[in-house]
């Protein structure tokens, strides 16, 4: 990738950040935030996007950003009130800007269906020229020739006279802004052939001299190709900080009026050396004035300095004098950091580090077990050293995991736009409230959260919230509220999507479930059980699919994606008050909370998240369905009893149920099963090692881990085991 393409990538990454900043700022303002820094940040975001777009000549983006920026500037300066209507337009403009950025990223910088309309709205409200003729002109003014527009250079004037007489008298301010007369003269010499004459009439006696004041002036004759505009350009930056006149002269030889500006340098130097200590050198800001003359052979009485190409060499002495402070500071620079409080690291490197730390954790556990087996006392130096090692290893593990952790903000911030769109489609006014955006979780978890969250928010607005009329009838404010929150709770991240709508219509859910054959007609279900029916595969029906929450995705898919992340999702609902979906997810996908069990001498790990309870089967609860298929009755309901040893092929004859222990698990789509194991060893956090990467995929096994005793333990893929056993069971039945 060439350097420019890399910068382009940086630009688009940055655009995403700025778009997020823009949106959250506007939303904060909509929520009543009047902090000037908020509008400033919003302005800066658009301003930066425009600036970067200019560098890449993304015309459509530049134009829209420019109009947007101008409107924001009006708002920033208080000329445009940040009313709710204005902010709504701004938010829509932010959406269009986001679309334009994405189009530009896909190399499709061009038209956007709403860009022109919104640009007009922005212009109208901020008093920018509105009608189309002026618009063109307006944009024409805003010439964004990529990499071309430069230093406000005035247009070159047509060539006229043969030369110019420039009189230049710097004021003290010129030096105070770190401009240097010598450098300007050097610059002027690039424009044309110059003859420089120094006027030192105003230099006072040394004891009267103000070291910071400007006393010198110059008369420069410029001949050659120079035109007035390019001469003015040289002095553009010091305009106002000097007295400057530029007079055209005919083709005659320059410098005829020279001769009066006699400046006795040697006399001055003598005075300086004679009665001034070194630090009292005159005009430290402008010692350059002396140097060229001292270097030139034409010192004292000769007033005219022949000054072809670069007569005024930058004097080293002046440089050193003015750079004294920084140069001193430079010696200390090695121990101070350069730029940036963050670094960008390739994700592969982080993952490699996480892998290695995983190995370290396992090795440490193995070592600890060996030491224990060797019979060393707990208080022995080795055992104590190991304890410390364990502590450190855990801290390293946590720190490394933290590298992959990111705030959920990146996914939360996509939601306001979604809410606006769905609200517009359904005609329901909605306010989105987000909390805990800073809560951190593994990057992969965040990435995979976007789809389920999108679906749930759509659902909350489309199905959860009532129509404004119904809300009014129920005595609720017309505007519905959807609350999206994240928090850390006991080593997991809990994300909630709550609405203040009508709650689950249990009668309806139940009748749909019966109709679909998901439950028996006379099934007695608790409210909670009814609410959770919506997660059943096949519950979401065609008649219910609307434009918004439909798209063929039901809550069962949401549940599956959450479970794929090692998470759980539940719903609580109160009639008339609203529903809350609660997702609990692991903070990382690199470690897993596991239940370690033994089956036929093998050590296996079941993900704790899937386990509802463990139980000791009683003979009277277990019923055979013929073959090896069995069910177990748990509190009046029957669930399949699956012998893990049989399922994985460790044994040919099933273990008598009473000799083992059962894990009641909930798999994909909420289906339950009891997994029969020989014994439970305990709960442990295990480092997940991919089986596919090291061996190959094995049905019924999700991954592997290495335990403290150095043995490999397989992590069960509960859903596959249940599905496969069900199939077997059907065959058997």
């Amino acid at each position: 990738m060439d350097a420019l393409a890399a910068i382009r990538d940086v630009f688009f990454q940055e655009c995403e950040e700025q778009l997020a900043e823009l949106e959250s700022g506007l939303l904060a303002m909509e929520g009543g935030d009047t902090d000037p820094e908020t509008i400033n940040a919003v302005f800066r975001a658009v301003h930066s996007i425009k600036g970067g777009a200019g560098a890449f000549s993304l015309e459509a983006l530049i134009r829209f950003a420019h109009v947007f920026e101008t409107a924001l500037d009006e708002m920033r300066s208080g000329r445009l009130a940040a009313s709710s209507d204005v902010l709504k337009i701004m938010l829509r403009a932010a959406d269009v800007l986001a679309d334009l950025v994405r189009a530009a990223r896909a190399d499709e910088d061009g038209q956007h269906p709403h860009a022109a309309t919104l640009a007009d709205e922005l212009k109208a409200m901020s008093g920018q020229a509105g009608d189309s003729d002026e618009t063109e002109e307006d944009w024409g003014d805003f010439e964004f020739q990529p990499m071309a527009a430069a230093m406000d250079a005035p247009e070159a004037a047509p060539a006229g006279p043969t030369g110019f007489k420039v009189t230049f008298k710097p004021r003290t301010d010129l030096y105070a802004k770190a401009n240097e007369a010598a450098l300007l003269l050097r610059e002027l010499a690039r424009v044309g052939t110059t003859e420089v004459e120094l006027d030192a009439h105003d230099v006072p006696p040394l004891h009267e001299m103000d070291p910071e004041a400007a006393y010198l002036s110059w008369i420069i004759t410029v001949t050659g190709d120079a035109d007035e505009a390019s001469i003015r350009e040289v002095f553009e930056w010091v305009d106002g900080d000097c007295e400057l006149t530029i007079e055209p002269i005919g083709g005659e030889a320059a410098g005829e009026d020279a001769g009066e500006a006699a400046f006795d340098l040697s006399a001055l130097l003598a005075r300086v050396q004679g009665d001034a200590p070194a630090e009292a050198a005159p005009e430290p800001e402008a010692p350059v004035a002396f140097e060229p003359i001292a270097e030139a052979p034409i010192a004292a009485p000769t007033p005219v300095v022949a000054a072809a190409p670069a007569p005024v060499t930058p004097p080293a002495a002046a440089n050193e004098a003015s750079a004294d402070g920084p140069a001193g500071a430079g010696q200390r620079k090695s121990d101070a950091a350069a730029a940036g409080a963050t670094i960008r690291v390739d994700l592969d490197r982080v993952d490699r580090l996480i892998d290695l730390v995983g190995e370290l954790v396992i090795n440490q556990a193995v070592l600890a077990q060996r030491v224990m087996e060797a019979g060393l006392a707990r208080a022995s130096a080795v055992a104590m050293g190991l304890d410390e090692l364990e502590q450190l290893t855990r801290e390293i593990q946590d720190s490394v995991m933290a590298i992959r952790a990111q705030p959920v903000k990146s996914v939360f911030q996509r939601m306001p736009r979604l809410v606006r769109e769905v609200a517009a489609m359904t005609g329901k006014p909605v306010r989105l409230v987000t909390e805990g955006e800073g809560t951190e979780v593994d990057k992969t978890v965040i990435e995979r959260l976007a789809d389920p969250l999108t679906h749930m928010i759509r659902n909350a607005i489309d199905h959860g919230l009532e129509s404004p009329e119904k809300r009014a009838a129920a005595g609720k404010p017309a505007e519905g509220v959807v609350r999206l929150s994240a928090a850390h709770r006991s080593g997991r991240i809990v994300i909630e999507v709550a609405d203040d709508g009508g709650g689950i219509n249990r009668e309806r859910v139940k009748s749909i479930a019966i109709e679909k054959g998901l439950i028996g007609a006379e099934a007695a279900l608790s409210d909670e059980e009814i609410d959770n029916l919506i997660f059943m595969p096949g519950f979401s029906t065609a008649s219910e699919v609307s434009d918004i929450s439909g798209r063929g995705v039901g809550m069962d898919v949401v549940r599956r994606s959450i479970q794929a992340l090692g998470g759980r999702i539940t719903i609580t609902s109160r009639p008339g008050k609203g529903s809350t979906f609660t997702m609990s997810l692991p903070l990382t996908l690199a470690v897993l909370d596991g239940m370690v069990v033994s089956v036929e001498g093998q050590t296996l790990v079941a993900p704790i998240t899937a386990i509802i309870e463990t139980l000791q089967p009683k003979a009277e609860d277990v019923h055979s369905l013929g073959g090896h298929a069995r069910v177990i009755s748990i509190r009046g309901g029957f669930v399949p009893l699956i012998d893990v040893g049989m399922a994985l092929g460790y044994r040919r004859e099933p273990l008598p149920a009473t000799q083992g222990v059962a894990l009641l698990i909930e798999g994909e789509g909420g289906s339950r099963a009891a997994l029969l194991c020989d014994a439970i060893q305990g709960q442990r956090q295990v480092v997940i090692k991919s089986l596919e990467a090291n061996y190959r995929q094995v049905p019924g096994v999700a991954a592997a881990t290495i335990l403290g005793d150095g043995r490999v333990a397989l992590i069960l893929d509960i859903d596959t085991i249940v599905t496969v056993s069900r199939g077997d069971m059907r065959k058997a039945g």
């Binding site: 302005f43 930066s48 560098a55 527009a149 406000d152 750079a323 920084p326 730029a339």
Partner: protein
Amino acid sequence: MSMTVLTVDDSRTMREMLRLALADAGFRVVQAEDGIHGLEVLQAEAPQVIVTDINMPRMDGFGFIEEVRGDQRYRGIPILVLTTESDAEKKNRARMAGATGWIVKPFNPIKLVDAIRRVAA
């Protein structure tokens, strides 16, 4: 030794663009994200020229220039203001604060380098 240029800009894109243009011209480039960061880097890196943006969080370009000019150690360092603002008011404020010169974004790399050479002794 090559000349050190400090660039102060909150946009990563702009910082990278500047780095590319300036490093290409043989300058040593040090970067800062805003005025406050700029003052820190200034102390550590002793640049010969500063190129700064105006619109920045925490401390904007005006504030930064004033701070630099108010510090005896740094007041002689030329400061070029790099900004998309081409209106006279911004330019004037930057000059009042003590900017040496200004460059309008999007900048032409050659002219930028030229401008830096122009103000650097």
